[in-house]
Amino acid sequence: MYTTDLSGKNKAEAVSEDAAKVAAFEARVANDEFIEPKDWMPEAYRKTLIRQISQHAHSEIVGMLPEGNWITRAPNLRRKAILLAKVQDEGGHGLYLYAAAETLGVSRDEMTEALLSGKAKYSTIFNYPTLTWADIGAIGWLVDGAAIMNQVPLQRTSYGPYARAMVRICKEESFHQRQGYEIMMHLAQGTPEQKRMAQDAIDRWWWPSLMMFGPPDDKSPNTEQSMRWRIKRETNDELRQKFVDITVPQAHAIGLSVPDPALKWNEARGAHDFGEVDWEEFYAVVRGEGPVAKERMQARQKAWDDGAWVREAARVHAEKRASAKIAAE
């Protein structure tokens, strides 16, 4: 769901590495070859990928919470089933992303602990609350729409397992995006209360969605190296612009306004000019100061703690059965 690196700068760890190996690696990447788990890779590349993929996986898992908040209140059986299937898809994405990160030598438990301790980040967007049913539409349309923008280029990212996971994820995300827009379209054509709900949702989710692309290029410390390694293929600002250009006409088509007074079509650029994102808010949310950051982490911590005895029972049972089988042979 979210792939922009939120962490600090990479340490220059490549210095002690064999220059010939580094050069061969860089040549392969420049040649658009996939790097596979058993291939040699610079330590900084491995670390950057672990951080990015695990952050992406955490975002999928934490991202189940804001939408999960409405499964039990979905307005009809069809919407309930679709939403449940969608949130389940996000869980599945989390699972294959964790598996992709595990190929780089980190365990799922380690990644989970990093999330729960606050060491690992997840998308800022999930630290905003889902207040009405229209938020489910807005998340599908805007948040998954922004995620697709980020993720389509990642299908060609240089690390093979990540690229392959993204191919599958992108297919499902585009279904999510359509179902979100369909919810919004339905509300926008509905009763005055439903229209109000839809407009209120875009008013609250628009700017946080633009923040999903990460800091502006001149303040994105890792972009240059990630682009060179083809972990990333387009810059934050390029992707943000693309998102605005695609989404604004969609909003207007269903009679919703975009909450940005500076938004204007620029004929010369062939693109929309738009206002400045509140970067102070963005950095605060990255620091864990988002409106419902505490609730999100509390929910993940509780699921992890409450589930500990279940995971332990499953492990002990598997061991008992395995040793009984050995004894019987």
């Binding site: 039990t72 209140r73 089933a81 389940q88 929910a299 029972a313 049972h317």
Partner: protein, 248 residues
């Protein structure tokens, strides 16, 4: 009339259990468990749509599955008491699923062979789903019963909570009798020995014994529910109640 109620009971069982299971989404002990519970919930909500849709069609008053799901009050819900029980911990959820899914397998096997093709078709599709639910729940009963002292104690407590609601699954009344006459019914009482056998076999594998017999708590089929159902409905029906006449 009674065939409407009959279809409605089947829909209500699936709907209420599906709603309960969906409460777990995003909060389960592991991602794999989260996905499997969501799968079961999805199957049940699908079954509910079919059975409630059929109930509305038989009734012929223009109510569809959503009207039945979202605009009836507690006294008109006809699900068994077992499915409305709170999730509790994971063991309690599994205990509920275990008792219900084994019943549902046996029930739907018979219903799939019913003369009334409308019921038989829904049952045949649902049967594949619930066979998986029964296996999933049984596997967890064994894991938890056989796992650690804590998981065993929790599994025993979960079964103990749910046990008083098991008898209701097999109670026959006029609605069931009329459904049998109409070619859509199942003799539920006759399913009990096979159900006992399946439950006992899994419990034995789990190193557990069946809870002591106790007085059955009944009433769900005639709208006499536990206190839990009203809260479940107030959450589930919120939007339809708050915005009457709106479509979504």
């Amino acid at each position: 009339m009674s065939l409407t109620i009959y279809a409605q009971r089947l829909g209500d069982d699936s709907l209420i259990l599906g709603q309960r299971l969906s409460e777990w989404c995003g909060h389960a002990p592991a991602i794999e468990v989260d996905l499997s519970l969501a799968n079961v919930a999805l199957d049940l909500i699908g079954q509910a749509s079919h059975f409630l849709g059929l109930a509305g069609a038989i009734e012929g008053k223009g109510r569809d599955a959503d009207a039945l799901a979202f605009r009836r009050d507690v006294m008109d819900f006809t699900n068994c008491l077992l499915v409305e029980q709170p999730n509790g911990d994971f063991a309690q959820t599994i205990a509920r699923q275990f008792l219900f899914s084994h019943y549902q397998v046996l029930f739907l096997e018979r219903l799939a062979a019913a003369q009334d093709e409308r019921f038989a078709a829904i049952a045949a599709k649902a049967l594949k789903e619930v066979s998986y639910h029964a296996t999933l729940a049984s596997d967890w009963v064994v894991r938890l019963g056989d796992g650690t002292d804590e998981s065993k104690a929790r599994m025993i407590a979960g079964l103990d909570w749910m046990w008083r609601f098991a008898d209701e699954l097999f109670v026959m009344d006029d609605v069931d009798a009329a459904a049998i006459t109409a070619g859509a019914g199942v003799d539920k009482a006759a399913l009990r020995p096979a159900w006992d056998q399946r439950i006992d076999a899994v419990l034995a594998d789990a190193g557990l014994v069946r809870p002591a017999a106790r007085r059955a708590t009944l009433g769900g089929r005639t709208g006499r529910h536990s206190e839990h159902l009203g809260h479940l409905l107030s959450e589930m029906q919120f939007l339809q109640r708050a915005y009457p006449g709106a479509t979504w």
